[in-house]
Each structure stands twice: as C-alpha cells, then as structure tokens.
Symmetry: C2
Subunit: 767 residues, 2 copies
C-alpha cells in the first residue's frame, strides 16, 4: 500500500493537474478511511462502486464501504455506499458481468474460480470523480461505471465470442447477516425492463429500495433463482416453471442472470433507484438517462464535478493539493438525494411522502457532520443546499413516530446510531448564518421536541438532574456534554428569533457540562443520580460503561465548544488549560488500549484524530491566548494524519467530516462552535486559496512566506487591515475579501493573546 | 357436536324465523366445513372472527378458518378469514381484550392461564350475519363484533374495576410457521390512532396489509414489544426506550398492549384495513365508521344482510330453510372487496394500482367457484357485481408479471393453488349471459394469454401434444380435462364475439379430453408424451403422481361438461354411462383410502361430494335420458351431505361453492357447464322459492305435491307450459316467470328421455 501510495505521489507531481485530476477516489480505501472508489455525482443517490468482500456481520467493520484496497477479487458493482462510515449497510443491487460459465454463488476468496467473483489488479483500475473502471481478470471483462443523481450506468466490454451475462445477486449486502434480506423481487417486464425491490433489516430496519434496469441490447434469455432453501407454499412464480421461464420472482435469496448474444460491442446497463416504487425507479431513469450513451453520462458527471470542485481554487504543495481536492470530493458525497424526480421519498415513519418545494436528502451522519462538514457547506454550496438539509431534517421530525429530528438517518430511515441531537446544531448554525429557506418557527419547535423527548438517550434524567447519570447509561458523560452543546445552539437560535423564554431555558441547560466536571480531578467524570462521583475514576478508561462514547475523559473533558472559557476558569487559568492540553497530546499511550474500540485511530497521545470528539482540540490553545501552540499542534496533526494515498486517512472519513476538517484547517480557520458564527484561526496549509462564494463573491486566503521553516503565524490581516483576534466571523467571509497570513519561523507570542481577542465563550461573549 | 346440532334444529323449528334469523354462521365450523362464525358484511374486506388455535404449518389444515367448534379457548379476534378454504393464510391483526394481568404469549391450550388465550363456552356465543358475541371466561369480558366493508368494530365489556387492556399480537397468523412474518409495524400517532402493517410470506408471498385502530376512550398507557430474540443493530425505536416509552416499533415479533382506565362503559375498538397504506386504512375508517356507535354499525350490517338474503324467498322444511339461508350467506362472502375507498389496491405484481371505474375484489378460489358459486351470482347479484369480478380478473391479468389471469388469488396476490385457468370460464359465463360491464376484447385476449402461457402447468406440452403427459406432471390427467373445458368456454365466447378464427382453435382444444380417455378401460388415464398409457392403471389411485388432483379417475373420467354426449359415445351408449355412474356411486370404498388426501370427504362410493370435481356428476344421468336417476342421486346427496349443524358441511365450503351447489340443487337445476347458458334440471328441495332478479323481475319455483314419498319429478312446466327437456336456459330464468314441478312417488321414465331433450353437448348442440 505504501508502494501504491508512492506511485500515486509520483504521478501527481506534475503540477498541471486540474482540480478534477487532483482528486483520487482511492484515497482512504485502505486501512481506516472506509471510503469507496466508485462512480457518483455530488450528493448522488446512486453511488456505484465495486464490492470486494461481503463479510458476516461481526467481521464487517473493515468492509463498511464494500471495497478494501488490499483485496484481490471483486464480487460485483453495487449502487449504494456510505463514504467513510463506521457502521454500514447498503451495497444494493449488485451486478457482476460474466463472460462464459455462470456460477451463482460468490465463491471462496482464495479460490475465486469457485464462484462469480473475479480477480482484478489495481494496475487496471482507474478512479476519477464520476468514473471508475477495472478489468475483471477471470472474465477478461473491462468494466466501466458512471452515474447521474439516481442512475448508475455500467459499460461492460466482453472478450470476443464469449457468452455474455449479467448476474444480479440481491442477497449481497454490506454488513450482511443471515436474515438481513426480508424480501426482494425481480420482475422482467414485457419491454425487457427489469424492476424489483429489496427490503432489508440492516442498520436501518425495514428499509425498502426499488430499482429498474435496462440494457442497451435485448436479452436473449434469463434465469431467475431463489437460492433460499425450500419454503412453505408455492412461491411467486407458477410452480414448476424453470429459472428460464420465470418472468418474476419474489423471495429472500434471489439471483438473476441475464444473457446476451456477443455482438462485439460493449453492453451498457442502466440501473435507476427509487426509495418508493418500481414505477418511480423507471421514471427516474427516463428523466436522467433516456439513452444508452455512456460517454454522454460520463462527460456530464465530469462536468458536474469540475463545477463542484471549482468552489475552492487552491494553490498548495502537490501532495496537499491532492489531499485537499480529494477531501473536497469526499465532502460533497453526503447527505445525498433520497427522493424520486417527482419528489416522492420515504420518511422515518417508513411511509412515502412528497417533498413540497424542497429536495429531500438523507444519509445524515450528524454526530460527525455538524462539526465541520455541514458548516463547510454553508460556505461553498448555495444557500438552497443547506435549506434542503434543514427542511429534510425538519420534515423528518414531523414524520418521525417519535416526533424527533434524525440522529443517524439514511434513505429516510432512522438507525439510532451515536448520541446527541446534532440535527439541532446543524439547523441552528444555518439559521445563525442567515439561511432562511425554511420555516424557522417550525424548525425551532422540532429542535425543542428533540431536546425534550424524555425516552431518548435518558433525556428525562438529564432534564431532571442536569446530567445523565451513570447508573444505567454507559455513555452518560458523553451524552451530558453533547446535549449541553446542542442546547446552547437552541438558545442561540431562540435568542436570534426573539424567543427569550426559550433561550433562557436552553442557555441554562448549556451549562450542564459543569455538572459532570469534577473540580478535584479536572476531568469530566461519570456521576450517579444521587450526585456522587463513581470511583475509582481513570480518565483513560474507554469502551462499554466507561461513561464515554468512542473515547474517554481525555477527549471529552474539552467538549464545551460553547464555553471553553468556562473550562479555563474551572481549571484555574490559561496555563492550566495549556498544560492539560499538552498532557493530552504528549501522553504515552499504548495503541492496544483502544484495540477493542471501533473508530478510535490516529492517535497523538490521547488525541485521537481518527474520531470526531478530538477534532476541535488543537484549536483550544487559542482560548488560552496561545495561538502559536494551536499552530504547532495543527502542523503535527496535518503532517501525521493525512496522506494522498490509499492509506492516507487515519480514521473513517465519516461522510466528509475528516475531510472537512482538513479543508477548514488548511484554509487557516475552523468552526469550533457551530452556531457561534465564529471560526477559530489556526494556520494555513495552502499557499493561496479562493473560496467562490455562492453569490459570486470570493474570499481569498493568502499565506505569505509559508515554508517548512516558516510554520508560525507572524501576522494576520483581513482586507488589508491587521486582524488582532484569533477568530474570524462568518459574515466577514461571506462578505468577501482577503485573509492574509504572514508566516514566520518563530511564534508570535503577542498576537491574539488578550482575553478580548479570544474566540467566543458563553462565559465571555463578544456581544 | 351432534348434540349442539340437535339443539339448533330444535331452536329453528319455530317457522316464523326470517331469512336473517335462519342463517347460522356456526354451520360448517365443525369437522370439514372450514367456515368461520365471525362478523362480516357481504363480500367484506374485513371478516372479523375468533381464532381458537394457531397451529404449526403442517398441522394447520383443520384450522384453515382460524376457529374450530370443538376448541375450548379463544386466542383473540382477527380481521381476515377465508370461508371454507382448503389451504389458508390471513388471521390478520389479532386483538384480545384482557382484564387484569397481561400475558404476552398465547399460552398452552391445556393451561389457558399460562397465556393470553381465554376459555369460552358455546353457551355464551351468539353468531348472526354481521354480528358475533362471546364471553371470554378467563377475563369475564363480553366481546361483541360487527363490521362494515373495511372496518371491524369490537365492543368489549370488562368486569367492573379490573384494569382494561387490548393486546394485539402481530405474530398470530393462520397457517403459521417460523419466519412467516417478514416484517411488521405498530405506530401510535399523536392523536391516539394506532397504525401499522404486516408483511407475510404465507400462501401469498410478500403480502402487505395495513391497519388503523381507534378506541372509544383514550389510552392511558401502552407497551410495545418485539418478542423476537435480539437482532443486529438497534431496531426501530430509540435504544433503551422501555415498552411504555416506545411510540412505534418495527420487527418480526411484535406485540402491543393498550391500557384503559375502567369507566364502567364498554370499550369500542375500530380496526380498518387497507391493502396499500396506513393513510388509506385511516381514510377507510373515516369513510365507513366515523363514530364509535357500535349499535349503528351492527344495525347497518343487519340491514345489509337482510337485503342481501332477500334475493331468494324460500319456503321449505325448517332444516332445509336453515341450510339454504346459511348456504346463501356463505355464498355471499367472497370474492371480497380488496381495495380502499379511493380505489387503491394491490395487484399481482405486488404494486399499488387504482381501480378506474370498477370495484376491485379478490379471494378468487376459482377452481371451486367457477362451477356454481359465480354462476349463482349472475342470477342473484346485480350485473355490476359480475362485471366487477371480471374486471378484477382482467386487470389482474394486465398486472400479472406472467401476463395471465388469477389462479387462486387473494388480496391481489397469486398463490398458484390448484390447477386450470378457471378465471376463463367465469368470464365466458358472464359474457355468454349478456353481462357487458367490461371490455370483451380485452377479456378475450386475457383469456387466451392464460390458455397459451406455456410455462404454466405444462401448457406448452398440452398445446403440443393435445394433453399433459404424465412424464413429469403428477396431475397430468386432471389438468388435461380441465384445460379442455376452459378452452371450450373460450370458443363459446369467441363464437359469440364473431371471432371464428379463435373459436375454431379452442373448440379443437376442447376435445383434448379425448386424448387421455382410454377406450379400452373406459377411464381417463395417465399417458406418456410418447403416446403410450402408463401401466398398470388403477382408477381408484389418488394422491401424488396419480395423474389426478384431489381425486382419481372415478371422478375425472366425467369431467367433460362441454361434451358429456361425447363421453356416452365413447363409452358405447346411454346404458354404459348409467351403469358406470352407478358403479361409481355404489362402489364399496374404504374411506381410509383417502385419509392422506386433503379435501376428500363426503364419500358416496367413489362420489366425493366434499370436493368439487364430483359436483356435476349426479346430473349426468340426464345426459343419458334418465333424469329420474339424477333425482334419486340428488336425494341421496342432499340427505347425507348437508345438515343445519356445526358439522353440517361434509367438505370445505370452498368460498361458497359447496353452498352454491345446495342452493341451485334445491331450486331444481344446476349449471353443469358454465358458459353453456344451460342449467340441467334435477329436482327441487324447496316447496316454493322466488328468485328476485336484479332488474325487478322474479323467477318462481314451485314444487307441487313434494313429500318424502313424492321424490320424483312427475312433470315440469315453465310459465304454465309443459317443459319436455331436462334443462333450462339462462334467458328463461332472467326473463322471469315460473318453473313448476309436480312431484310423484314413481319415476317418470318418459320425461326428457329423447336425445333432443337432453342438455347441451359439443357433440349434439341444440343450436
């Protein structure tokens, strides 16, 4: 992998590479990134990509994206994937082109010839935004993939004279296990269109997905199989019909084989998805890909990406440029479209709804994305995009059987993954930034409904006690910390809307983090309902019943982005914060300590860059008036945690959050507290960058004199005027202008040192 | 049971009983009838009835209706049932009222207190058309049920002061087995409405049914359980929520408990069904039962039944009158409504469609009902009813993935049960009778599509060879015989439509029964594809690979209703037919011979009245010019096969076919060959009867001098003129008038003896 990485570095040393050419979808497909290399347009419903292994549930974590770079065989190409998820699902409608004899089972990995899987070599692979190609060595089939928003387009070039087949395995699924497929259907319509559905009980329970398939050449025959062991009654097709005679089949173990006569021309296959019905899948196909012109679709996908990537014009060292454009690519994959062209979508009540005046999106990895991913979108995407995100969240709340906002939702269905109610800060951040394409009152009501829903995550006890007690919740401390931040964002939005009554309630709740902070230890700690601390306390303890979620007190003690100044006061002053931060970064940690905890990777002491609770920590030195220490830590993190290689992401990309962190950080600022409308200034890692703001304005970042030696910020100016504070306001960015850093070899211990120059905290607000 | 039957006979000896009062829904709930005692309106989608046992699949046959009279406990009341089916499914949305402690499992049958089932006594039972009541002894709850077309209404009177609960078990299902429930949902909406769905893989694969429930009093609490052993991921409700806190749940083992405060007033529960969505279930409820007025709904159901039963005014001996009105009741239960009030329905492609200008019905037990049940409807129901049946069939053909008409379809989904394509004779019969509320050309196309669909039931070989060979089809002879009859009905309809080209093809196919008739043996026999007969041949052989479906050659050798005269010729004359019929009726048969063959019951020699292939056989003496022998056999059958008791049906009622046989036969005629527009005259078993024809005309049957001694037809007159033939024309009935029988003690060996007076046969048509 290092070798492959090296090759890639060499290849992109040619500086002329465009933004599009700088993207390498293979980055992160190695050990921890969980990204996929396949074809998609920005925020596409279809994300069409090779799957290399389908493992039993308990072994699935590593294959969360379907593909791992170290694998040597491809099972086929499926149409839905998460980019960088820690849990997973999807891998819907797997197609495998087969030349010659057809085998109906995937076969063993060390004997690919025992099944339909095929060996492949990375040498034959080509991955670009909106395009992926590979040669399946066992079939000598060249496979090319591209996509529109709702349609995957495959082009398969078979070897001359061989029987040509497409195998579809509706059993295949990422994070698979016995019984995951509840029901499925394959139906061959009179016009040769294949339609069907699959219903699964995976991460999302009872998820239905419909598909439609058309081929550029007529099928000459087909076979429909139900590979499940015999069941009661007679099944869906007339009894006694052969696999060749079946025109449709329903069941739980379906495999279809579609046969074509060799003509010497490639076979183009279009696969449209719909969350609601077969008819809508057909309508989606008709609307987006009416023909079989692979090159047209591929060209359109490329043009779309070129436009999408043009939102930031970056001048940086080649490796960083490659990192950044790939990060931007990964940041533009989710939450994706989850509705039909006519607006039909499936909501969290598992019913079909119609989006009225907005675009329903899903794949909300909110615990991750509220931090930097969605804030980034408010800068580089049109306002309508964020409004669609907010409306999708708020409509989901209306449709939720529990009356609460999404937690971790995809294809409209809730999975209850992770903690908090982080749709709340996403909405508040949008509102505070002046985005108004939604009903603010309805949104605020939805936010409060989530924050007040007692049965969710022990909110009833949180509301009663001011913290979640450890008595029967093993993640009690993390929940308390995150709820308190989310509450603060409600108070921000309520204040802005003139609802002081609400603002006061939630501003008070925003201080709840203090209830789990133990002044004796200087850490947040598990606390019982009776008010006593759980003893003994070990800040490094992570995992089940530790009180923490994917981490420990070393990461969570700093989780009060709304009031870091309050933390400093509790700790006893700036130096206490700095030394405690240093203790965290410089701790000697045996990585084995976290071996059993998924999602913890990318360690710098007890700082864990591979997981989100650490993402704001390097910026906290600014709050203590020591921005040069932030600058040092950022250098340390960027140097060690990102590479333009398949193993270049130290942790799950988490639907763009890891990538958004890098983009913000490289531009020189980061949204430590979404909904504050402030970005904490770090240091740039680009020579120059221009943000193309949605309304035609630009915001330019320049790093003067930056070099390996000149790693400190000497001075900062905004629009030519010195900037003496270590934060930037959202309005200053969207107004357009230039942020200029002058870099130097030594720390500037005078810049942004004064308390008034430090970023926002509840305890010392700027206003 | 004999005792109970005796009691009922005594009770109805009071002659004043109205038609409504004469119906006893408990008739047939004993050994073989498979009828249910619960509440429904005519052709209702909801058929709400107690379920007494849910057995594992292989033991389910006896519980096909959910209820058996000999059982002593009730599990609850579910909303869908088949009346008299041989296979089964349904039992959807089971509710059990519980006073006191709630147990979540049904419990053991010999220890009812171990579960939620309750003991009951028949003494507390009251079953009337549209109404059922029983007392659940273990809870001291009086349960009353009534219904509209799509809504079941329950009224539960709890004992004073006890905690009141409704338990809903979405696992409970008739013909149950592990894994039958694919997915299900319970959702408590903010307004207290409960909605949800269940998807099952029973007889119908992948069947979805949606429901909505409202209570007359507010719930004070609820509990939602998933009783399936733990599954992967976090499920549908927020993790950690208690059963009380869950507002919704999805899964495969769902049980809901709804709690009410005792008020001293009964609890009324409304349950609406929909084949398409929760919203449509609510709409169905709103349209049909906007209030909680149990008595109003009950009164309306009673009025509806009084009108429905008034189509035949019967004067007969008390037991026969009770038999007949109950038969009429059973004949009016299916095929029932299978669409929402807005016309939405689920078709055989498992997609949602909209009925445009017709009423979609389903539960098509066509192998049974084309014989007499649907022909009866053409006399007593408005033409629009038959048109709806035909349009539902034809639309199903358009929506079928296989492009063929329903075989055994319910709730729109095909089960592939039984053989033949008997939607064809139902449609042809309607067309021949002048019913025109459908597109005849489209219908004929649909009929031919079914008859020509090679993969179905070895039709490809049938079309090639002129018969289904025994080589690889164990029901080959039955299929050949039934296909040939169905083909004849196509030729009839095509002729009437002026399509001689089509008529000729299918008239030729109608002779295919001859290809399996062996002149040597005088029986239809299994035959190989190479033309040779399978040896040895044993006409009594039934069961797997016998060549026959639920029977043997003794029943099937006469299955050419289109050409009984042709059979006589092949046999060698009238006397040969008569002696062969006698040999069948008088055969000494050990009933154990059929012990392993389901659906074979009601034996008179080799005549099996409990199953449909025998139903026309007693009428065949007429074809040999010996109608008095038909009269004798009918007496023998009626006396031995029907009683107004719970064990009064000797075989499955088969969605009204057993009942329709009795109605026709008691009126004195029977449709031996549907689509011939002829009814073969037997002898009446009523003193007088008046058919209220849909257009206001009447057709009156009078049996003069009928008594136990006067069991032969002395003479017949139609509208005052002597009728010298042993058949009646459909147009003669619908024209209105009077058919008068004069009965006598001795056979009239001169009446209807001449060949020209015998019923229609292809070989000697009247026209």
């Amino acid at each position: 992998m290092a070798c492959a990485g090296g090759l890639r570095l060499a290849a992109q040393a040619q500086e002329a590479a465009s933004a599009y050419q700088s993207v390498d979808p293979l980055i992160g497909t190695g050990p921890e990134g969980h990204t996929f290399p396949g074809a998609t347009v920005p925020f596409g419903m279809v994300q069409l990509s090779p799957d290399t292994q389908i493992r039993p549930f308990k072994q699935s974590y590593k294959w969360a994206a379907g593909y791992r770079y170290e694998d040597t065989t491809i099972l086929g190409f499926s149409h839905t994937h998460f980019s960088g998820a820690g849990h997973s699902d999807l891998g819907d409608v797997l197609l495998q082109p087969i030349a010659g004899e057809v085998r109906l089972e995937p076969g063993e990995i060390d004997r690919p010839e025992s099944g339909y899987r095929s060996r492949f070599s990375h040498k034959t692979e080509k991955a670009e935004p909106g395009y992926y190609a590979v040669t399946l060595d066992d079939y000598k089939v060249r496979a090319e993939l591209t996509a529109t928003e709702r349609v995957g387009v495959h082009r398969y070039s078979y070897p001359a004279g061989e029987p040509e087949h497409i195998l579809m395995d509706l059993r295949s699924s990422i994070y698979n296990y016995e019984g995951k497929v509840l029901w499925s259907r394959i139906r061959i319509r009179k016009d040769g269109t294949i339609t069907g559905m699959r219903e699964t009980r995976g991460w999302a329970p009872g998820r239905q997905l419909y598909y439609a398939i058309r081929f550029s050449r007529p099928m000459v025959s087909h076979e429909l199989y139900d590979r499940e062991s015999p069941v009661e009654y007679k099944g869906f097709a007339p009894p006694g019909t052969t696999p060749q005679e079946k025109q449709a089949i329903e069941g739980r173990g379906l495999v279809g084989v579609f046969d074509f006569a060799p003509t010497g021309t490639p076979l183009v296959v279009k696969v449209a998805l719909s969350p609601t019905s077969e008819e809508n899948a057909i309508a989606n196909m008709d609307a987006e890909v009416p023909d079989f012109d692979f090159e047209r679709v591929h060209g359109a996908a490329r043009t779309t990406w070129e436009k999408a990537l043009a939102v930031i014009d970056i001048a940086a060292a080649p490796a960083m440029r490659r990192n950044l454009y790939t990060a931007l690519y990964h940041a533009l994959l989710a939450p994706g479209t989850s509705m039909d062209v006519d607006g039909s979508y499936r909501g969290p009540d598992n019913q079909v709804h119609k989006a009225d005046g907005f675009h329903f999106v899903s794949s909300f990895s909110l615990w991750d994305t509220y931090r930097a991913e969605q804030p980034l979108m408010t800068l580089i995407e049109p306002e309508s995009r964020t409004s669609d995100v907010v409306r999708s969240l708020v409509e989901s709340q209306r449709e939720s059987p529990f009356g609460i906002l999404p937690v971790w939702q995809f294809q409209g269905i809730e999975t209850w993954c992770m903690i908090g109610y982080h749709a709340v800060p996403e909405i508040a951040d949008a509102y505070m930034k002046g985005i108004r394409g939604f009903d603010a009152k309805q949104a605020l009501d939805a936010m409060m409904a989530s924050a007040d829903y007692g049965p969710y995550g022990y909110l009833d006890e949180y509301m009663k006690l001011g913290y979640v007690p450890i008595d029967h919740d093993g993640e009690a401390v993390s929940k308390t910390m995150e709820y308190a931040f989310d509450d603060w964002t409600i108070s921000r939005m309520a204040t802005a809307m003139g609802r002081k009554d609400i603002a006061e309630v939630f501003a008070k709740r925003a201080e709840n983090w203090r209830n789990v902070f133990n002044r004796q230890s200087g850490f947040v700690q598990p606390r019982y309902a009776n008010g006593s601390w759980r003893e003994p306390f070990e800040p490094a303890r992570a995992g089940a019943d530790s009180g923490f979620t994917e981490g420990n007190s070393w990461q969570y003690s700093w989780y009060q982005p709304q009031d870091e100044q309050g933390l400093i006061e509790l700790l006893g002053g700036d130096e206490k914060l700095v030394s405690k931060l240093d203790a965290m970064f410089d701790a000697k940690v045996d990585p084995k300590q976290y071996a059993d905890v998924e999602d913890i990777a990318g360690l710098i002491g007890q700082y864990i860059h591979g997981n989100e609770p650490s993402h704001h920590l390097a910026y906290l030195y600014n709050y203590a008036g020591q921005p040069w220490r932030t600058q040092e830590r950022l250098q340390q993190i960027v140097d060690s945690q990102y590479k333009p290689t398949v193993d270049g992401l130290v942790g799950n990309d988490d639907l763009g959050q890891m990538s958004a962190w890098l983009i913000f950080t490289s531009l020189g600022f980061y949204p430590v507290a979404p909904a504050s409308n402030e970005y904490v200034i770090g240091r740039p890692f680009v020579d120059r960058a221009t943000l193309m703001l949605p309304d035609g304005k630009t915001f330019r970042i320049v790093a003067e004199k930056m070099s390996a030696e000149n790693r400190y910020v000497e001075s900062v100016s905004l629009n030519g005027k010195p900037l003496e504070r270590s934060y930037l306001l959202h309005e200053e960015i969207v107004h357009g202008g230039e942020l200029r850093f002058v870099m130097g070899p030594e720390p500037n211990r005078k810049w942004a040192v004064a308390p008034s120059s430090r970023p926002f905290s509840m305890s010392s607000p700027h206003t």
